[in-house]
């Protein structure tokens, strides 16, 4: 009886350990400014986590849809594709910057203006499958920012 309860405690402990939320931070978040008529834009930032985790989705009240994109160059051919997840290894900052990854705001509900603060909710999934969210505020920069 005693050993089985210890076993349950251990199992419970293991369960919770595997579901510990990674503490993720986002820094330097910015959104590329747009001109009237543009309906999409990219958001850039640096993500850092103390545990292995992955960015799996995002939402923002300014966009109908938010996606994680990867830009690649293959023999001078530019390709851009949505990806299902972006791995954030423990202790290694992952930069989302022009020429690589970005969080794409699709179907923008209004023309973003320079200086505007765009709220985003990023969803991360830990190794055990537990999900946690991070609220990020990204400032709108010039269209020509880089």
């Amino acid at each position: 009886m005693k050993s089985s309860s210890a076993l349950i405690s251990l199992a419970a402990l293991l369960f919770f350990c595997s579901n510990i939320y990674a503490a993720v931070t986002a820094s330097g978040a910015w959104v590329r400014g747009i001109v009237k008529g543009q309906t999409v834009t990219g958001t850039f930032m640096t993500l850092k986590s103390d545990e292995d985790t992955k960015l799996v989705s995002a939402t923002s009240p300014v966009a109908g849809k938010v996606e994680i994109h990867k830009m690649e160059m293959k023999n001078d051919l530019m390709t851009m594709r949505p990806i299902d997840k972006l791995a954030i290894p423990a202790g290694t900052p992952v930069e989302l910057k022009p020429g690589g990854y970005h969080v794409m705001l699709v179907d923008l509900k209004h023309t973003l203006v320079k200086g505007e603060k765009v709220p985003l909710t990023l969803v991360f999934e830990s190794r055990g499958g537990a999900r946690n969210t991070l609220a990020v505020t990204a400032e709108v920069r010039d269209l020509t920012a880089h």
């Binding site: 590329r32 008529g37 999409v40 594709r81 699709v106 880089h146």
Partner: protein
């Protein structure tokens, strides 16, 4: 002639020889940072409409150097970076910038209306011109430059692949150089100056 004087004379020749040998390594395999495509049949007789509604062909830009690129305004990443790079080239050229025309050809004419190009392209430099055409005209201009593009629908979104290279057309309308996306503003400005110096 003393031995020292002889060496001094030889030293000049040695230095000249070393410079000549070092030159190709410094400037790539030829005079340019960009790839020389003068004899590769790039260019052609494309026709497009600029962001002010004016019909354009390469003949309109005779006497100026043209830097032409393909892209689309819904590109959050690479296209603005290229246009910023071109604006840097113009700044570096100073007064010579007046002899250069940057053209941004949309490969997404369905979404890139004339008005959108008019709002977007001059943000980077007021002298830049956005060009668009019908689907056939767009197909034609990309073929003229042996460029590739592909628009795909995915989860209700348009995904675009396109050639990231840029092209330099000389003052006589001949396509001379191909720039890879890795080429810097300094290198492109240097090539523009080299071509301008040809007269």
């Amino acid at each position: 002639m003393t031995e020292t004087a002889l060496f001094a004379r030889w030293r000049h020749w040695l230095m000249a020889a070393a410079l000549v040998l070092a030159l190709p390594a410094w400037a790539g395999d030829n005079l340019f940072y960009g790839k020389d495509i003068s004899d590769k049949g790039y260019g052609g007789d494309w026709r497009l409409t600029d962001h002010n509604g004016r019909k354009r062909t390469i003949a309109d830009f005779r006497g100026r150097i043209v830097l032409i690129f393909f892209g689309y305004t819904h590109c959050p990443d690479f296209c603005p970076t290229t246009l910023v790079k071109m604006a840097t080239v113009m700044k570096q050229l100073g007064p010579d910038a007046a002899k250069v025309q940057v053209l941004f050809v949309t490969i997404d004419p369905e979404r890139d209306s004339e008005a959108l190009l008019r709002n977007y392209v001059p943000v980077f430099d007021p002298s830049f011109l956005g060009l668009r055409g019908s689907d056939e005209e767009t197909e034609k201009v990309t073929q003229d430059f042996k460029a590739h593009y592909q628009l795909m629908k995915y989860r209700g979104e348009t995904l675009v692949d396109h050639t990231a290279s840029g092209y330099l057309i000389d003052t006589k309308g001949k396509t001379r150089l191909l720039f890879s996306y890795t080429q810097t503003a300094d290198q492109i400005a240097a090539d523009v100056r080299t071509i301008l110096a040809e007269g």
